[in-house]
């Protein structure tokens, strides 16, 4: 079997990142968009950990910070979403178009 090198992890991470990206730009549901962003950040973490294996633990710490950031973003984002939903009763991205021009 092939040796599993850094590249393999990077590929997986990139694919996950892209799937997240595709989700962000195609799905209508805001909640799912949030999830996709979480997925992207998680893919970044995978990248970092793959590199961390090459250089030392700094990458892991970085990943930890990104995870914390993801949590914070999720918390605030969902809070905003709820406030939004209260006023607009939708979480449909196509309907978030009050501001334009």
């Amino acid at each position: 079997m092939l040796e599993i090198g850094t590249l393999h992890y990077l590929m997986v991470a990139a694919i996950l990142f892209l799937i997240g990206l595709i989700g962000v730009i195609t799905r209508r549901n805001v909640v799912i968009i949030f999830m996709c962003i979480e997925l992207m950040l998680s893919a970044v973490n995978l990248n970092l950990l793959a590199f961390s294996r090459l250089y030392g633990l700094h990458g892991q710490v970085f990943a930890l910070f990104i995870a914390a950031d993801a949590a914070a973003e999720a918390a605030v984002g969902l809070g905003i979403l709820i406030a939004f939903f209260r006023n607009r009763t939708t979480v449909n991205m196509d309907e978030v178009d009050l501001l334009k021009g």
């Binding site: 092939l2 595709i22 195609t26 909640v31 999830m35 250089y55 030392g56 990943a63 999720a74 918390a75």
Partner: protein, 173 residues
């Protein structure tokens, strides 16, 4: 500790992660998507383990699968999910978006593939047993607490998130 059947686990976990990620973005019902995301995240946690990052794997499981996803589910309950089923899943631009993303993806993957030699081949093996401790030392160590200051800032960040969530969620006075 040498991992057993590394390639198999790698491909297996990767496949699980990717497939469930695809499932996530193709499910109409956000609850299904959320569950698929959990699977992806758990699979990546497995990959983390393979990368000698047990602490991060744990964080991944606890924080994401345990914390964030539950929050997502709660929110889905709060926002009216019934009518979400019946609506269209994709927005109007999805074809062009998909094409753009595929172009971008092929460029990114191509770049990674071509640039694979840019990274050192030598792997620094960290003992897994002391992984958490060493991370702790990087975060708080008296002489090695290199990331202490960012860590403090991260704590502020989380505080802000709390404040933000409260501000956003509380009713008008």
């Amino acid at each position: 500790m040498t991992p057993v059947a590394t390639p198999f686990f790698f491909y297996f976990l990767s496949a699980v992660a990717i497939i469930s990620a695809l499932v996530m973005i193709t499910k109409v019902n956000p609850v299904h998507s959320a569950l698929a995301l959990i699977v992806t995240l758990l699979a990546s946690a497995g990959l983390y383990l393979m990368l000698y990052a047990p602490f991060m794997a744990g964080v991944q499981i606890v924080l994401y699968a345990g914390g964030i996803l539950v929050m997502f589910l709660f929110v889905m309950m709060l926002v009216n999910i019934e009518h979400l089923y019946v609506e269209k899943m994709m927005n109007r631009q999805w074809v062009i978006a998909l094409l753009a993303a595929l172009v971008l993806g092929s460029l990114v993957l191509g770049a990674l593939y071509k640039g694979a030699g840019s990274f050192p081949q030598q792997i620094v093996n960290h003992p897994e047993q002391t992984n958490s401790q060493e991370i702790g030392m990087l975060l708080y160590g008296p002489q090695t607490g290199y990331y202490m200051f960012p860590f403090e800032i991260a704590s502020v960040l989380l505080l802000v998130a709390v404040v933000g969530a409260v501000v956003m969620a509380k009713r008008r006075v």
